[in-house]
Symmetry: C2
Subunit: 236 residues, 2 copies
């Protein structure tokens, strides 16, 4: 029998999570059908489905219509959805939510700066150099370079063993790319400075120059923070 919590759906949710733990399943593994879970938990399919919907929102399970239910990949997509919505809901007052996301990215990049420089010092990476060249080239033509930006930071984080940090940084990148279109966009000058800052980051890291790397990280976010500050001032 399931735990005697306030609601049937909540009990089913706990029971399903406990089932995953006891079976030691991995992401992608198939799960019992909803009908089977109904019998084993002694609740109706509605309750099982509501529990499944909650777990699916957290990427703990993944449901496919007509196929079945599988163990989820436990990604940070829920965080992306939540923060993106937070960023779009709060502009009624100010762009403070999005600025906080960018400041968090800055803090994270500074927090791992030491490890990044240690990992890259003395190495060469043709792929990252190519991405920087593409970003500068695109910025000179007044175009954006979202995909190259994403790939650059992904390549940077791939040097570190900690996958959670990489996922969180990627999630935060995703958040402000989802929210930014709702606001005004950066000037060509800001775009050029951002592109150049990526090159400075790479050069400083390869040279093992930690202070220069930290400065390049700050310069990399400066244009974006300036845009957010300007937008904030306009709504005052």
């Amino acid at each position: 029998m399931a735990t005697r919590r306030s609601s049937a759906a909540a009990g089913a949710q706990d029971a399903i999570k406990e089932y995953l733990l006891q079976e030691g399943l991995h992401p992608g593994d198939p799960m019992p059908t909803e009908t089977v879970l109904c019998e084993q938990l002694g609740v109706s399919r509605s309750s099982v489905r509501e529990a499944m919907r909650t777990l699916a929102a957290l990427d703990i399970v993944e449901v496919r219509h007509g196929t079945g239910t599988f163990v989820g990949h436990l990604s940070l997509d829920p965080l992306v959805n939540g923060l993106a919505f937070r960023g779009m809901l709060s502009p009624g007052d100010d762009h403070v939510a999005l600025r906080e996301v960018v400041e968090l990215r800055t803090a994270l990049d500074q927090g791992i700066a030491e490890q990044v420089v240690a990992a890259i010092r003395g190495t060469v990476d043709d792929e990252m150099a190519r991405l920087v060249a593409e970003m500068i080239d695109l910025s000179e033509r007044g175009e954006s370079f979202a995909e190259q930006d994403r790939a650059f930071h992904a390549a940077l984080l791939a040097k570190l063993p900690n996958r959670l940090v990489a996922q969180l940084v990627e999630a935060l990148w995703e958040v402000h790319t989802q929210v930014l279109p709702r606001l005004g966009v950066a000037t060509p000058d800001d775009i050029a400075k951002t592109a150049a800052a990526h090159g400075d980051m790479l050069t400083a890291a390869q040279a093992g120059d930690l202070p220069s790397y930290r400065a390049a990280v700050n310069a990399h976010y400066a244009p974006l923070l300036r845009v957010l500050a300007r937008e904030s001032a306009n709504t005052d």
Copy 2:
């Protein structure tokens, strides 16, 4: 009419989010009843409920049985749930998931170190001093001090204007306090060192000594990381 996505529930979810944005509602504000949403969106209660359940899991809405539905507080609770489950599911291989959480906390604390020291330099805080004294006292008697630990970091983060960073650090703290009971616990010596490190952090920050503060942060997490490394070695 709502967006023409693959499923009715997904469309209802988008429509509800759009409704919140257009109405400019704030956390805690009441929302239309499920019956009303059914009529306005042209779908059944089931679909509305599944959408609501997904949004509730992300803390975008809050549902109270017999009372109604309200705008959620957009907290990081979904992240806590997801990461805590991730930490409990992965030990089948290793305690790598929990170690990644602690390393992320370390990176964050290092990333905001400069701002924290700048904010605390030259000030005195009786409340934080009292918490440090309590932690040391409890550690000498071999007891744990989870609540004081939480309050100390909360007081530290309250000095910064960025609320998102504070919420994320608190969320990560919540994660490893939820997961730790499933593993072995720290030794009395580790507990004493952790308590002392809090005092060193406070002293260094008040003195405006950034390098010492950074060292104290690392020392603060060192015992916990050692426990996780030991557990990891045992399962090898």
